[in-house]
């Protein structure tokens, strides 16, 4: 009883605060609605059009699913993940019991554990994709940033690399993939491989396609450093190494991050295509498998994947945007 009497004014106050006007003379509520209404409207209209038009399209896998069916499927995929978790937990439980029994009856002998081989769930596939894109992107950054710095510092190197950059930049991942597949298969031979071949092929394809924006932007950033800042380094007689570490990299950081943000966007797009063909167990393979599967649920599942891909890509971009913001020292970036 006591708690409710305390609660009611607080809720009331909060509601009243929404109607209060702020510094600009507009009510907080109106401002909030003004900010959120247009995007919300956009989404609702989109869902409406989708719902209406989907029911009219009949494919070989049945009617194109509408938003409701896709939502249900998303929940379904989540349930599958939960079930799989339970199954895995019980497997480990059983194995533990078996081990205890075994140790009791055969003391001193080695117990051969069985590895759990469950189906990768949808969430596992998302993480595989994230991991693959991360490795490919990082590899690309590690190659592109130093190359870009060299290009920016030295006109001759820039001139030498420029035609190569221009030619390789627009190449589609689908063209790289066969080459990468063959090269990886020929070079990466190991009895106990640390990485799966499909993973390496996808990651390297991502690297080849996504490193160019970082390279180009780094070169641009380094080439456009304020000449007076370089003069400061001359007056202090800095070594080239110190100059690069203390002046060149910090002052081109903003453009390096801009390049990396573009690269990550490309990397994520390319990854899905690469996974489809390389059969790396991520979202791309999921889409491909569902397409080949051709069950009544396939289209719904693919659409869940489409939204997942979009959402993850969006989140990656936001993350890079924050990094970019940090590297721009007070100047705003878009």
């Amino acid at each position: 009883m006591n708690t409710t009497t305390q609660l009611i004014p607080s809720v009331w106050q909060r509601l009243m605060a929404l109607v209060q006007t702020d510094a600009s003379g507009e009510s907080v509520l109106r401002k909030f609605l003004g900010g959120i209404a247009p995007p919300l409207m956009g989404i609702i209209i989109f869902l409406g059009i989708w719902h209406v038009s989907a029911s009219g399209i009949h494919t070989s896998l049945g009617t194109l699913p509408g938003p409701v069916a896709v939502m249900k499927q998303a929940d379904n995929l989540y349930q599958e993940y939960r079930n799989e978790q339970v199954r895995e937990a019980s497997f480990h439980e059983r194995q533990k019991n078996r081990k205890a029994e075994f140790m009791a009856s055969n003391p001193g002998e080695e117990f051969s554990e069985i590895k759990y081989t469950g189906q990768p769930t949808y969430l596992d596939q998302i993480f595989t994709s994230l991991y693959t894109v991360f490795v490919g992107f990082m590899l690309g950054t590690v190659i592109a940033v130093p190359l870009g710095i060299l290009c920016g510092l030295n006109k001759t190197i820039q001139a030498a690399l420029n035609p190569l950059i221009q030619i390789f930049r627009p190449v589609s991942p689908l063209a790289w993939l066969p080459i990468v597949t063959l090269v990886v298969s020929a070079v990466y031979i190991s009895d106990d491989p640390m990485f799966a071949k499909s993973f390496l092929i996808s990651a390297i394809t991502v690297t080849l396609c996504s490193m160019w924006p970082t390279l180009v932007n780094t070169a641009l950033g380094v080439a456009s450093i304020d000449k007076d800042l370089l003069n400061v380094s001359k007056v202090l007689r800095l070594s080239t190494r110190t100059k690069v570490m203390k002046i060149v990299i910090p002052s081109s950081l903003k453009l390096i991050f801009t390049g990396m943000r573009l690269s990550l966007g490309v990397a994520w797009m390319v990854l899905i295509a690469a996974e489809m063909l390389a059969q790396n167990p991520g979202l791309g393979k999921f889409v491909w498998d569902e397409f080949q599967n051709g069950s009544s649920q396939s289209l719904e599942r693919i659409m869940v994947a489409v939204f997942t891909i979009g959402f993850v890509g969006f989140m990656l971009d936001r993350t890079m945007h924050s990094l970019q913001q940090m590297a721009s020292f007070g100047q705003r970036t878009e």
Partner: protein, 308 residues
């Protein structure tokens, strides 16, 4: 332009106090000596003399301004002295040693501040000492000292973009002075500042100069600034850049803005005007051009609707 006061060049007259001061300065050791310095550029149109046969020397704790119309090579001169550019003839001696290449014995302050935007004010000032191999603590101590001197202790943890133009230039001055240069080379340092900030910075610079053993070479295109700050003014003329005259400013020290209308100040200014804008012939063409350049405006308003 006709000098109003007399036919005698008043800027050459020095009061006994001013004269005594110049005598004293001339007895001090020479910090910078420039002999027959020349710079020749090779362009597609042929060879161009940016600087030719420049001679002057600066004594310890002297404040010398370089002035001249645009294109007279004053920036080239200071860049050669800083070691950022090569000269093609003659020599420049700092403490008797020829200048070849940049070094910490010459501090440079640029018009564009050139602070590191990714470092705080304090770290900007610490940069030089740290690169010289002073430990972090010593560098910090030195930075704090110089920031206090330029009156920015409170802002030591701010970033350059949070400061006003005048404050940024003060950081730049502190950053140059922390390396304890023999000479401070300033390339139109206050050119980007508004008039009020500029006046403040001029007084501030003189305050620093009075308290520290530093010699200053200061480039400007502002006549008042040159007279207000300088012991001597090196007037350059363009095409090719040559020394026009080296004027000993007869305005007594300590200087104050009130002296802007003193007879010595006005006489010096009249002389500078004469040297830099040699009235008559050259200017006539320019004036004509300017007049021709004025566009013919069509009236878009009613004739009776006179705004004036």
């Amino acid at each position: 332009m006709k000098p109003a006061h007399s036919t005698r060049p008043g800027y050459l007259e020095q009061s006994p106090a001013v004269k005594a001061r110049f005598d004293k300065i001339k007895q001090r050791e020479v910090i910078l000596e420039v002999r027959n310095l020349g710079k020749r550029f090779v362009t597609a149109q042929g060879e161009v003399d940016a600087l030719r046969d420049i001679n002057f020397s600066i004594h310890r704790r002297e404040l010398v301004c370089v002035i001249g119309p645009s294109g007279c090579g004053k920036s080239t001169l200071i860049r050669i002295l800083a070691g950022l550019e090569n000269h093609t003839s003659g020599v420049a001696l700092l403490d008797g040693k020829p200048i070849d290449g940049p070094g910490q014995d010459r501090g440079m302050v640029f018009q564009g501040y050139s602070l590191f935007p990714w470092l705080t004010v304090k770290k900007n000032v610490m940069f030089g000492p740290e690169m010289k191999g002073h430990g972090w603590e010593q560098a910090e101590r030195e930075a704090n000292l110089w920031l206090e001197l330029v009156g920015l202790s409170k802002f030591s943890d701010a970033y350059p973009h949070q400061l006003s133009g005048g404050m940024r230039q003060r950081v730049a001055i502190a950053r140059a002075l922390v390396n304890e240069p023999r000479i401070l080379l300033m390339d139109e340092p206050f050119g980007a500042l508004d008039a009020q900030t500029r006046a403040k910075m001029q007084s501030h610079l003189m305050e620093i100069w009075r308290n520290i053993d530093v010699t200053i070479l200061f480039i400007t295109h502002d006549l008042d600034e040159a007279i207000y700050l300088a012991d001597r003014i090196l007037v350059l003329k363009p095409n090719p850049g040559e020394v026009h005259e080296l004027i000993e400013v007869p305005v007594p020290r300590p200087r104050s803005p009130a002296q802007f209308s003193s007879p010595e100040f006005l006489a010096t200014k009249a002389r500078l005007e004469e040297l830099i804008h040699p009235a008559a012939k050259a200017e006539k063409n320019e004036a004509e051009e300017e007049q021709n350049g004025t566009p013919h405006l069509i009236r878009f308003t009613n004739v009776n609707d006179n705004v004036e």
